[in-house]
Symmetry: C2
Subunit: 364 residues, 2 copies
């Protein structure tokens, strides 16, 4: 085991004392960085980038070389698992992801199966290679986060065949044929649990479940079709022998009304989008889970002094630094491709310097 030079992120997730509020950014390796675009150009395509462990390692480390971020996150695509299930993932220029063989009929659903994890070896190879690349002077710079889409979020893409404005196709199946939807979700939950387990085996030191589309569901439907299956994933991971060492973060975009139920899944931390008040979230669930979030990514279009003001407001909204609570700073959603990279420097500086002042004088 290589020692961690900076374990602030893992300590915050475990609600242990830290010297400052750690931060990383969803989609921190991405198109707002010129060096990312250069690597992507060499890779030839997005899938060429995501499926090649060397390129994935290169772009995973790029934001760490620019900014004092407290965690790395595996660079990968959210749709690797359904692609391994044989749905035929492709990206066309100017469009989002598409599946060549979406799930539309009873026969499509009956044929769905948990994929052989060997088809996803390129992901686990990337995890291993990133772990090695994170070592500098004999110590690992920051921890590595693995991730997956939630069973429901994967199902949205698998049934719609791509992105959607209204989720009409997947919701029609949900309301008209709940039996088919439950079968898809059961397969997805098992696949995601195996996938994240294999990422942990390969070296991921925390994992995050992205329930990006849980928030489009009605109250009631969310609990039945999204949360119940995310919970299966969390509970499978928390049954592992290394569960204490590897925190699980559950993020539902638009899930602010369901935080208590999300905390009941057994996740170690909840990701929050920018609509949730951090202090209120802490009052509701903060003694049971750490909280991660939740700056509006659009704040990064404002000048550095406005960014610093919003960072201070957010850190103060979390409330006093105390043992037994944990906050990981992040955006409330992925960083925009149009973000000026120098504004991210202003963000990182504001989070670290202001939170260090807030943490000073507390037990550490």
């Amino acid at each position: 085991m290589t020692a961690l030079a900076n374990d602030t992120f893992l300590r915050a997730l475990r609600r242990q004392p830290t010297e400052y509020t750690p931060l990383w950014l969803m989609r921190q390796a991405g198109r707002y960085l010129p060096e990312y675009n250069a690597t992507r150009a060499r890779a030839g395509s997005f899938l060429g980038l995501a499926q090649n462990p060397h390129f994935a390692t290169e772009v995973t480390l790029q934001p760490l070389d620019r900014y004092a971020l407290d965690a790395a996150i595996l660079f990968s695509d959210i749709l690797t698992v359904p692609d391994a299930m044989g749905l035929g993932l492709r990206f066309e220029a100017g469009e989002g992801p598409k599946f060549e063989r979406p799930l539309r009929t009873e026969a499509d659903v009956a044929a769905l199966a948990v994929p052989d994890m060997d088809k996803l070896r390129y992901v686990f190879d990337a995890v291993r290679e990133i772990r090695r690349a994170l070592v500098r002077d004999g110590v690992q710079r920051v921890p590595l986060i693995g991730f997956s889409g939630s069973p429901w979020t994967l199902a949205c893409y698998m049934v719609e065949g791509g992105g959607s404005d209204d989720y009409r196709t997947v919701k029609t199946m949900l309301y008209a044929r709940p039996d088919l939807m439950h079968r898809i979700l059961a397969v997805n939950a098992e696949a995601v649990a195996q996938y994240l387990g294999a990422q942990i085996d390969a070296g991921a030191q925390a994992v995050m479940v992205f329930d990006s589309w849980g928030g489009v569901l009605a109250d009631g439907a969310f609990q039945e079709f999204s949360l119940a299956y995310s919970q299966r994933v969390v509970q499978t991971l928390k049954a592992r022998a290394d569960a204490r060492a590897v925190p699980v973060i559950l993020f539902t975009k638009g899930g602010g009304q369901w935080l208590e139920a999300m905390a009941d899944t057994g996740a170690d931390a909840l990701g929050l989008d920018w609509t949730t008040n951090l202090g209120q979230a802490r009052a509701r669930v903060g003694s049971r889970v750490a909280l991660q979030g939740n700056l509006d990514p659009n704040v990064l279009f404002a000048p550095p002094e406005a960014i610093a003001r919003e960072v201070q407001r957010l850190l103060h909204s979390f409330g006093p630094v105390e043992n037994g609570v944990g906050h990981v700073f992040n955006l409330g959603h992925g960083i925009s491709q149009f973000t000026p990279p120098e504004h991210v420097s202003a963000l990182v500086e504001a989070v670290h310097s202001h939170s260090r002042a807030l943490h000073r004088g507390t037990a550490a």
Copy 2:
């Protein structure tokens, strides 16, 4: 004053006893109805339809002739007010609304002013004509609802110049130049208050403020840039001599975390999207305001028996029928253009018949 044949909707908004749960549907006069599409074809364009009081009256009444709905809502566009401000509204085939002259510079914002309400006379003429057309056998069939976009929602379109995926332009102004954003919102609030006041003068018997994009704001920004200005509108209307007679409904899509603050505006009722649990909303604010909502419009793609099941679930989630609380059934968002019209019949039948059973035996 012509008597109302059916005032169930107004009684529910005033939290008075009703024999059943009244319902209407956001966007009930719309593209899912073949007769609407026929009228629109005769009008030549969407604006030709919305700006002609005769056509607007015709389409407003169409859903009432098909379904036993408990209210009519003025057919109009949400962007009439900024159009009257001179921003140049146009609709291009296959695209949403666009403004030819969006607000981008300090000079654009400085030049913005409350429009002469005479430019919106076609709207008030439509209200008057619809009121007349609603009279059958000497009584008015159902009440007429007037509406406007909220100050913030109008500002989104006015600054973005149309719809948006990420609200980057308007949020950049909000965070970088809050002074400009506040000026736009102050002008919009005054304009919307005058606009809704004139609709009431023309005969609207309830009004609804559609804060369709309030839910894209961060906690904190919502209260400062959306709610504060919706509150100005509500308070101006509630200062009128006829305020008791004309209920005001405030609907923020994605606003489920902010219901207490929304109730504090003085609105008579809150519109809810489908992510909010009705019973929990009632526990939080239901003795102060009526609640309107909140079926996922996608339920209407399922067969009638599934629609009836979801209706029952929703009515039960509101909890026991009691004096001093009020529920108006609605969708959580506008009805989809792809909805089968016969499924709306199933919805109306399910709401009326099931809620009548729930109301039986209560004080009325």
